[in-house]
Symmetry: C2
Subunit: 159 residues, 2 copies
DNA sequence: GTTCAGATACTCGGATAGGGACTGTCCGAGTCCTATTGG
DNA sequence: CCAATAGGACTCGGACAGTCCCTATCCGAGTATCTGAAC
């Protein structure tokens, strides 16, 4: 099991956008050049973020992507779910239905205690991701690396 | 991101084995027939459990698989890691290294605050899985479905 | 000088190929059981 | 009757194809800007 690397791209890109003025749109090319990523593929991830309501897009000259809402209202879980989809990692295929005494009308995704145990872990994972907003991460970065905001703005302002 | 369905097979199989006397070995064919699973593919998953020290195998007639240690010493995390591998879901590819001011000698898997946030969630997930032992799950099942142990034993004893 | 229309260049969005991992299957190495034969 | 041996059947373990999703790319639809001319 391995998460798509698009998650990493999306997280860093959203964090970079959080340092820019809210009305500044950045096109895919500049966002990709920041980390030397393939622009067309990054664009695909950004589309998913737009569909999730995390980014807003604008076509044409002076167009690009910007944050659709405040960094305080964007959690790590929001970004991860936008890229990876809403389904949880462990999917219960209800093999108990094919076992001895299996009833077709029972929803074993709810009753199976193993599925419930896996769900408990998934909930803990989501709770931890939902507890971290983009604004908090940004503050942490500014505390540890004070020059990052200025460098980021300069990189996107240049040209 | 979706977990291999072999995890579900492995979990249920280990749980079934926990109801049998510790010296009873069950071959792949019977374990697969219990849930109508493809025997050869289930065997592949059981091999992984043997390599992880969760099951022990014995070839030849009267051979098969049995739990290698007590259900109290087998956690859900042990089974999941045996099938899925030890790596965590989010892998930090250190794209900060290719960004402005990226240093080749820095290990960004440790310093990147986004990677750290994702790691926090992964740790919470593993902590929750490690907190549930196979023995506790077994007791829960016996409490909710008292006839399950007898049915399981009968199914494996029959023939 | 101002305004309007056309052309242009730029950007997003979805549709289109390629590769790796999960899924599924098969056959060989090793082991235990059993039947037979000789004492 | 007992023991040894040879054969057979059974099981695990790793090696071999098929399929789906992630990766990567390209081109068309739409929009803001710029230029030029007309008023």
């Amino acid at each position: 099991m391995q998460m798509s690397q698009g998650v990493e791209w999306a997280l860093h890109t959203c964090l970079n956008l959080s340092w820019l003025p809210p009305d500044q749109a950045v096109p895919t090319g500049k966002l990709a050049a920041f980390y030397e990523l393939p622009a067309a593929y990054l664009n695909k991830q950004l589309q998913a973020l737009v569909r999730a309501g995390i980014l807003s897009s604008q076509p044409g000259p002076r167009g690009g992507f910007r944050l659709a809402r405040a960094p305080e209202d964007i959690t790590l879980l929001d970004v991860v779910l936008a890229i990876e989809g809403p389904d949880e990692a462990f999917v219960c295929n209800q093999i108990l239905r094919h076992g001895p005494g299996g009833r077709p009308e029972v929803d074993y995704r709810q009753t199976c205690l193993l599925a419930r145990g896996m769900r408990r872990a998934d909930i803990a994972w989501r709770r931890e991701l939902a507890a971290q907003t983009l604004a908090e991460i940004r503050e942490d970065v500014e505390r540890h690396f004070p020059e990052t905001p200025r460098n980021t703005r300069a990189r996107f302002a240049g040209q």
